[in-house]
Every structure is written in structure tokens, then in C-alpha cells.
Symmetry: C2
Subunit: 298 residues, 2 copies
């Protein structure tokens, strides 16, 4: 089996198991699938769940595309060939309840030729209200997954996530972070490609137990209108991050990707309030004080 | 009087008269002012109106800032000096009623030295539902204002607006356009700077009669939940344009501008629905068919 076909099979399996697990946890919402193909080559399976018990809007998308790289990118890579292959699974979940966090995951594999190929990915948590025990649980699980492969992974990838999931113009992190990694290959990890695929799949398979637990802990927490308003405000920050900074979104918009699949990450509803100021010592102020880099949650 | 002080005085007067006129038309909402100063030099008067009879959220902002240009910009201008001065008035209005359009206006003046200075600006209309007679009225007024100065202005600036206010990833214009111009100076217009200030002020003074008329025509139109949902969806496109493409927003975010003043343009509430499809022959489909470049409204 060609290596990239192994990656595709593993990623599709992850998409399937996550969708199945989320439907079971949600208890009401069902994923609707759209199959799409790309003019330049390849396509994807976009799966969206809207108006569930827990999940207001979420997507679990798989894609595997190939074709010719744009000239500018080809030059920057200094490559002879310009055939590329890229596959990935991307997830964003926006829950109804402000005490259930927003979550994002992406695992991806990119290949030009035997010398130019790598894995990338990440998973990060954006609670509307930061609950310390939840943040610690989440990071602990991620550290466990990373440590099975290399003890240096978690601290490195956690720091990278702090830097990446950062809303510079607000001077706040998107949430409590997680892990983010890119261009993993044997030269910089000491792991061969099969082992790196195992790592990528292990990250993918950490999503469901992590999010299911966080849903179960918080889905029945009562909330009032003020708390829901705060949720809408935090969602508008999420939209700002994705539209202004997110590399995947930018790349998708610039390369005529499938817009509805790319922008499924945007919240079902968001509010921008002019010059919002949290009341001192409130739960909102407490959350804002924890949206910063360098907190050791694990 | 130094020229830039004349510009500042004219722009502040425009801000004052627009705020006064909008409050009168709205009948309930009052602008709240925040004065701010910038570390590098200068400052502004941010004026926000929220929860009015007609205007749900809107801002009429004046700023006049000065300081040292970032090195990269200095190099690209090939300048000896790096002292800049910039002043402008920026407006965005988000109305309650989906039949009242969103409107935006900006007039600005930039100066480095006697050789390097210019006026820029624009005004454009984003109806949630395109009403042909309103679009024609709006463009007719803009053409009238432009024609007083140069018959070539309206066609040139209208085409520029079509290109600028374009949501590339959606392949649709933000609304029915208007005018957009930049770097106007004697060399490329045949008008001296005093006359260009007159033009800039004339654009500024077109805002109030234009928007007041459009409000009065539509403020009492009944609307239902579906029409309001469509308004929220159009607002999410507006947020996409401003966060992904708008040059002023990008510049502000990259240069540590006053975030709340820059992002006052974002809607009070917006919705992202996955893969929305307008019903054929509906009012929504009609509007979508008119969100394209090159329609001669005047």
C-alpha cells in the first residue's frame, strides 16, 4: 500500500469514529454529509451537525486533494516537481451551553515527493468560561498521548499552541490552548513515517474521550441570559481569530478551497459589543485573566 | 492656518453634524463619546450609538494621529523623513430593520511632506435586501456630488468601489457599492489641495441626506423572523469582508490602533449558517443576483 493511501484510510477511520461518538453523546443531532470534489484534483467529505442537544453547530471534515502547487509556493519550497498531495481531518464544535467549551482539532499530512513530506496538526480548547479542572484534564490527556511518542513533544507543542492560538490585536489567547505541531518528519523527530502516522492518529483518537468527558461534565449546568451573552461575545473573538489569523482558513480562502467547508468553523451566532468591560472579580474577569500564554495546565 | 489643521477642523465639523443629524433621525439613541490618545502621537473621538430606534449599533469616529512610520512602510515610499500625519472620519451603521441598509463612509487625509500627501475615502451601501429605487437614489446623489468637481470622478470611483468592496471568497460584492478613491492629489486630479478638501467635505456632507432618506423610506416596513435571519446572515458576510479584506481594519490591527474604534464596524449580532441556499425566485435570491460588479445604478 502506498504510504499516502495508508494515511487516507487512517484519517477517514478517525472521521468516522468521531462522528459516531459525537452523535451518540449528543443524543439528538445527526451529521449531514456532503461529498465534494475539487477541480484541480481530489475532494472531501464534509459532515456538519446543527441544532443538536449539546452541539449547536459543528463540523468534522475530511479531505484529500492533489494537484499542482501555485508557482509562488513552488519557488519558496525550491522544488523540481509541483505535484502535491494533502489530506486532513478538521473539526470545530460550537456547543449550546456556555459551560461546554468550543473545541478544535486538525490532523494533516502533506507530500510533494519522498524528501518533501510531513505531518502537522493540533487540538485546542476554547472554554467560554475557563474551568481549571477541565483545562487540566484536557492538557493531561494531551500530554499522555504525546509522552507515548516522545517526552519532548508535549512541552514543545504546548508552547507552539500558546503562540499560534493567540489573538494578537486583543492580546489574549483564543482559549486554554492545547498542542500545535507542524512539519514533523524523521529528520526532526527521530520517528519514521509509520510512527509519525501513529502519532497523528493518536492525536485524532484523543479528541473523542477528551470532548465527551468535557461535555458530560458540563452539559447540564444551568445558565442565564448574561452567561449566554458572554458566550456570544467569546464566539465573536473566535470568529476574529479564524478570519484574521488562522493559517488554514487563510490558505483555503486564497486558494479557492470549498468555502462552506472552510468556514464551518465560524460560530452559528456571535455578538460584537462595543468596548465590553468585565466586572471586576466576576467569572468573566476570571476567564479573561486566564487567556494568556505560558500557563502550565498539565 | 497650516493646511492639515484646516482638514482637521473640516473633518471634526463633519463628525459633529453627522452625529447630530443621526440622533435627530433616530429619535432615541444617543452617541456616547470616548476620547483617546495614542502613545505615538495624536488621538481621536470615538462616538458610538447602541440600541436606538433605528440604529442597533453604529459609530462615527474621528481621529488625527501623527508619529513615525514603521521602517517597512518608509522604505516602500522611498522617503527621507518618516514623520507622518493622518486624519479621517469613519462611519458604519447597523440598523435594526432588515429593510434599512447598512452604510459605511470614510474620508481621510495623509501627509508626510509637501510632496507626499493625498486624500482618500469612500462611501458604500450594503442593503440586506436590495431595493432598486434606493440603490439608484444613493448612486444618483453620489454622482451629483462627484460631478460638481470632475465628470470623470463618479465613473472612476464607482468602478473602484465595485472592485474594492468585493468578498472574493464568496464571489459577491459587499452590497450595491458606491464610490471609493485614494491618493487624490493635484498631479492626478488637476485640483489643488484646497479644492480636494472641498471634495472630501462634499463626500462627507452627502452621507447625512443620503442615509436619512434611506432610513425614512424603510424604517416602518414590517419584517418577520425569516427576514431578520437573513439580515443576520448578511451581517456575517459584512464581518467576513471587514476582517479578511478591509485595508483600514488590517492596517489598524497590524499597527496597534485602538481596537474598539477599529472594530466598531462589526455587527452587533451575526449568524453563520452552513451552506445557506436562497429559495429560487425569493427576495433573498433577487438580492444575491444583484451583488455583482458593474451594475449602473446612477
Amino acid at each position: 500500500m502506498v504510504f499516502k493511501d495508508k494515511v487516507v484510510a487512517a484519517f477517514q477511520k478517525i472521521q468516522d469514529s468521531i462522528c459516531q461518538g459525537l452523535e451518540q453523546t449528543d443524543g439528538k443531532g445527526k451529521f449531514e454529509e456532503e461529498l465534494w470534489s475539487r477541480e484541480g484534483g481530489g475532494g472531501g467529505r464534509t459532515r456538519i451537525l446543527q441544532n443538536g442537544n449539546v452541539i449547536e453547530k459543528g463540523g468534522v471534515n475530511f479531505s484529500a486533494v492533489h494537484g499542482k502547487l501555485p508557482d509562488a509556493i513552488k519557488k519558496s519550497f525550491k522544488l523540481e516537481s509541483d505535484d502535491f498531495f494533502a489530506t486532513g481531518v478538521s473539526i470545530v464544535m460550537h456547543p449550546n451551553n456556555p459551560f461546554v467549551p468550543i473545541i478544535h482539532m486538525n490532523i494533516r499530512y502533506f507530500e510533494m515527493d519522498d524528501q518533501t513530506r510531513w505531518f502537522g496538526g493540533g487540538i485546542d480548547l476554547t472554554p467560554h468560561y475557563v474551568i481549571d479542572t477541565d483545562a487540566r484534564f484536557f492538557h493531561h490527556l494531551l500530554k499522555q498521548t504525546c509522552d507515548k511518542f516522545d517526552a519532548s513533544f508535549y512541552p514543545k507543542f504546548k508552547a507552539h499552541a500558546d503562540d499560534y492560538f493567540f489573538i494578537r490585536h486583543r492580546e489574549e489567547t483564543r482559549g486554554v490552548g492545547g498542542i500545535f505541531y507542524d512539519k514533523l518528519k524523521p529528520e526532526n523527530t527521530g520517528l519514521d513515517f509509520d510512527r509519525l502516522l501513529d502519532f497523528s492518529a493518536a492525536v485524532g483518537n484523543t479528541f473523542l474521550p477528551a470532548y465527551t468527558e468535557l461535555i458530560d461534565r458540563n452539559r447540564d449546568t444551568d445558565f442565564n441570559t448574561e452567561e449566554q451573552e458572554w458566550q456570544y461575545l467569546r464566539r465573536s473573538r473566535y470568529a476574529e481569530f479564524n478570519l484574521v489569523y488562522d493559517a488554514g482558513t487563510k490558505f483555503g480562502l486564497e486558494t479557492n478551497g470549498r468555502i462552506e467547508s472552510i468556514l464551518m468553523s465560524l460560530p452559528p451566532m456571535a455578538k460584537w459589543v462595543y468596548n465590553y468591560q468585565a466586572i471586576p472579580d466576576s467569572a468573566e474577569a476570571d476567564t479573561l485573566s486566564k487567556l494568556k500564554k505560558g500557563i502550565e495546565w498539565a
